[in-house]
C-alpha cells in the first residue's frame, strides 16, 4: 500500500511538474514579449495557451542530426542526464504539510531524505556532466567552449552556494528540508534572518542554471548556441526543457530555504478545516515559486551579459569571501543570542 501511494504520488508530482515547466516556457515568451513591447505567441488556443503542445509536436517531427565526427553514444546520453537530474532534484523538496486523503495521511513531499541539502548540492554537481559531456561529445568548437565554460562557471559558484546554505543549516540545526521549513513558521522566514545569504544564494542559483547575467555557456553572439549547438529535434527539446526545469527547481529550493516553503502566514486564523489549510499551503508554495520564476525571467530580459573575467572575479573574489563572512556573522549572532 505504501509503495502504491509513493508511486501514485511520484507520477502525479512528475506530471504536474512537467506541465508547469512547459507553461513556464510560455510564460517566459509572453513576459519577454511584454517587456520588449511585442505581443508574443497568442495564436494557438486562447491567448496561446496550447503553444507548448504545438512546440512539442513540431520538435518531435524534426530530423535529428548527429554530426559524423561526434561520439554518438555520449551525444545521446547527455540530454538524458541533464533532464533526468534536473527533474530528480525536486524529489526532496517539500511542497506541503501532511494532508488527509481517503483516510490516508499523505505527506506532501516525495522523499524526506535526512541529508536533503547535501542531496540537492550533489545533484546540482551532477548537472554539470550533462552540459560538459554534450560539449565534448559534439566535437564542435563552439560546443566544446560552451561545455568547458559551463563547467568552470558552475564549480566556481557551487562554493558560494554551499557556503550560503550553511547559514540556513545553522539556524535550523538540520539538513532536512522538512525541518528547515518548519523552523520558518509564521514570519520567521530565512530571507529576513539571512539577507546576505539569500542574495548570495540567488546569485549562485542564476549562475548554476546558466540564466542570463551568467549565460556565458550559450552566449549567442560568440558561441552560436554554446553546448547545444549540435543538437536538434527532441534532444534539443530535452535541453530546452531541462533549462526551464532547472529554473523551476531552483526557485522551489530558494522558496523552501529562504521564503518559508509552504508556510502561509495567518492561515490558521481564518478557521478553515485541516484539509483546506493543506490545499492553501500547496497553492501558497506554487505561488511563491511562480513569482520567483517570473523574477528569473524579468532579470533575463533586463540585464546584459557579464564578460567571462567579470564572472570569475565576482565568483572567486567577491562571493566566496562574502559568504564565508556571512557564515561567521551568523555563528556570532547565534552565540550571542544563546
Amino acid at each position: 500500500m505504501e509503495l502504491l501511494i509513493s508511486v501514485i504520488k511520484i507520477v502525479v508530482v512528475m506530471g504536474v511538474m512537467l506541465g508547469i515547466v512547459a507553461y513556464v516556457v510560455l510564460l517566459e515568451r509572453r513576459l519577454s514579449a511584454a517587456i520588449q513591447n511585442r505581443i508574443g505567441p497568442n495564436r494557438v488556443g486562447w491567448q496561446g495557451l496550447l503553444q507548448p503542445i504545438a512546440d512539442v509536436v513540431k520538435l518531435v517531427f524534426k530530423e535529428d542530426i548527429v554530426p559524423l565526427k561526434s561520439n554518438r553514444f555520449i551525444h545521446d546520453l547527455a540530454p538524458i542526464i541533464s533532464l533526468a537530474v534536473a527533474l530528480t532534484t525536486f524529489a526532496v523538496v517539500p511542497f506541503g504539510d501532511k494532508i488527509n486523503l481517503f483516510g490516508y495521511d499523505i505527506k506532501l513531499q516525495i522523499a524526506d531524505v535526512n541529508i536533503g541539502i547535501l542531496f540537492i548540492l550533489a545533484l546540482t554537481s551532477l548537472g554539470v556532466y550533462g552540459l560538459t559531456l554534450s560539449g565534448w561529445s559534439s566535437n564542435s568548437k563552439y560546443a566544446l567552449l560552451g561545455g568547458v565554460r559551463s563547467s568552470a562557471q558552475m564549480i566556481s559558484y557551487e562554493l558560494s552556494m554551499g557556503l550560503a546554505v550553511l547559514g540556513v543549516v545553522m539556524i535550523a540545526g538540520s539538513l532536512q528540508l522538512d525541518t528547515i521549513v518548519e523552523a520558518q513558521a509564521g514570519w520567521k522566514w530565512n530571507i529576513i534572518l539571512q539577507p546576505i545569504g539569500f542574495i548570495t544564494f540567488v546569485t549562485a542559483a542564476f549562475a548554476e542554471t546558466n540564466r542570463l547575467p551568467f549565460d556565458l555557456p550559450e552566449a549567442e553572439p560568440e558561441l552560436v548556441a554554446g553546448y547545444h549547438t549540435e543538437y536538434s529535434g527532441m534532444k534539443f527539446a530535452a535541453y530546452y526543457l531541462s533549462e526551464y526545469a532547472n529554473m523551476f527547481v531552483s526557485s522551489a529550493i530558494i522558496t523552501t530555504l529562504y521564503l518559508g516553503g509552504w508556510q502561509v502566514p495567518f492561515v490558521h486564523s481564518f478557521g478553515f478545516s485541516d484539509f483546506w489549510i493543506g490545499i492553501i499551503q500547496v497553492f501558497g508554495f506554487l505561488t511563491k515559486v511562480i513569482l520567483f520564476v517570473s523574477f528569473f525571467i524579468i532579470i533575463r530580459w533586463t540585464i546584459p551579459r557579464f564578460r567571462y573575467d567579470q564572472l570569475m572575479n565576482l565568483g572567486w573574489k567577491f562571493m566566496l569571501p562574502v559568504s564565508i563572512l556571512n557564515l561567521l556573522i551568523t555563528g556570532l549572532v547565534i552565540l550571542l543570542l544563546s
Partner: protein, 142 residues
C-alpha cells in the same frame, strides 16, 4: 518498506523513462534523410577546419584544482553547522582556526594571480642593440 532513497530512485527512474520515451517516440516518427554535408560539424557554413578536441586553456584546470580544495572545506563545514547550536563557543573557535588556515591558502592563490582570469599579455624578449635593429617594412594603405 521503501526507504526515502528508494523513493528518490523511483523518481529518477520515472524521470529518465520519460525522457527516453520522448527520444524514442521522436526516433520512430521523425524523417531520416541524411547526406554527408548535413552531417558535418557546424562552423558557420564553412567546411570545418581540423578537430575540435584540442588543447584548451590551463586556467580552467587551475580553477578546477582550487575548487577541489574549497569544496572539501564546505563538506567539512556541513556537520559543523548542524551541531553548532549544541556545541557553542568551542565549535566557533575551532572553526575559526580551520577557516584561518584555509584563508592563508586563499590569500596565496590570490597573490599568485591564479584567481585572475584576465592575465596580462606575456612580455616577449626584445633585442635592444642598435646594430641588430630590424626595421619592419611599412605598408601604406591603398
Amino acid at each position: 518498506m521503501l526507504t526515502d532513497f528508494g523513493k528518490v530512485f523511483i523518481f529518477f527512474l520515472i524521470g529518465g523513462l520519460f525522457v527516453a520515451a520522448g527520444l524514442i517516440a521522436a526516433w520512430v516518427i521523425r524523417p531520416k534523410r541524411w547526406y554527408p554535408s548535413k552531417l558535418s560539424t557546424y562552423e558557420c557554413g564553412e567546411i570545418p577546419v581540423g578537430d575540435a578536441i584540442v588543447k584548451f586553456n590551463i586556467r580552467f584546470y587551475v580553477i578546477a584544482l582550487i575548487f577541489l580544495i574549497f569544496d572539501v572545506e564546505v563538506v567539512f563545514l556541513f556537520p559543523w553547522a548542524v551541531v553548532f547550536k549544541n556545541l557553542g563557543m568551542f565549535a566557533f573557535i575551532e572553526m575559526l582556526v580551520f577557516l584561518s588556515i584555509l584563508f592563508v591558502g586563499y590569500a596565496y592563490v590570490w597573490v599568485k594571480g591564479d584567481l585572475e582570469w584576465d592575465k596580462p599579455a606575456p612580455q616577449l624578449p626584445s633585442i635592444n642593440s642598435k646594430q641588430l635593429k630590424i626595421s619592419t617594412p611599412q605598408t601604406t594603405p591603398d
